[in-house]
Symmetry: C2
Subunit: 104 residues, 2 copies
Amino acid sequence: MSEEHVVRMAELKIDPAMLEAYRALLAEEIEASVALEEGVLSLSAVSLKDDPSTIRILEVYASSQAYEAHLKTPHFLKYKSETAGMVVSLTLIEVDPIMMRAKS
Amino acid sequence: MSEEHVVRMAELKIDPAMLEAYRALLAEEIEASVALEEGVLSLSAVSLKDDPSTIRILEVYASSQAYEAHLKTPHFLKYKSETAGMVVSLTLIEVDPIMMRAKS
């Protein structure tokens, strides 16, 4: 992990009636972001087993510039507009990385 | 993501007086687990900016067998015994993956 990395957690509550559609749009956005943007290092989205309409996303960007650039990409803007009516609440939780490791 | 994968989030509250020691032991355990265990696919630990003694860990194992094997490794047992007096609480949150992508 570089000191420059930006790491965030988001917690979202989704309208249960829209959950399947939301999950598909989120999955598409994550695949596009990591594939197409050099500065998006990882995106991990999970739902709580006890409450599947609660979703947590762990986001790792190479820098604050990479994060700002991500917000302007066509795939992010599409996700944002198409899911706007599905998201009941969105809480951003600022975090500091301690250690992050994955199989290459 | 395979259907077989086991994904969990843990939330820990650490004794603030022991936080630096705890972070070092956790970092060491994460590095060893991903380096040495084929079935440990990723481990990501972060602390909340607003409350650094609250730590969240996102864990991805190849299978439930891989997770069970992890619990018996020397590096995990060392971490567990050396941090036992530092952990105020540990909550395991069962989650289902939606999409997880990282740069290779």
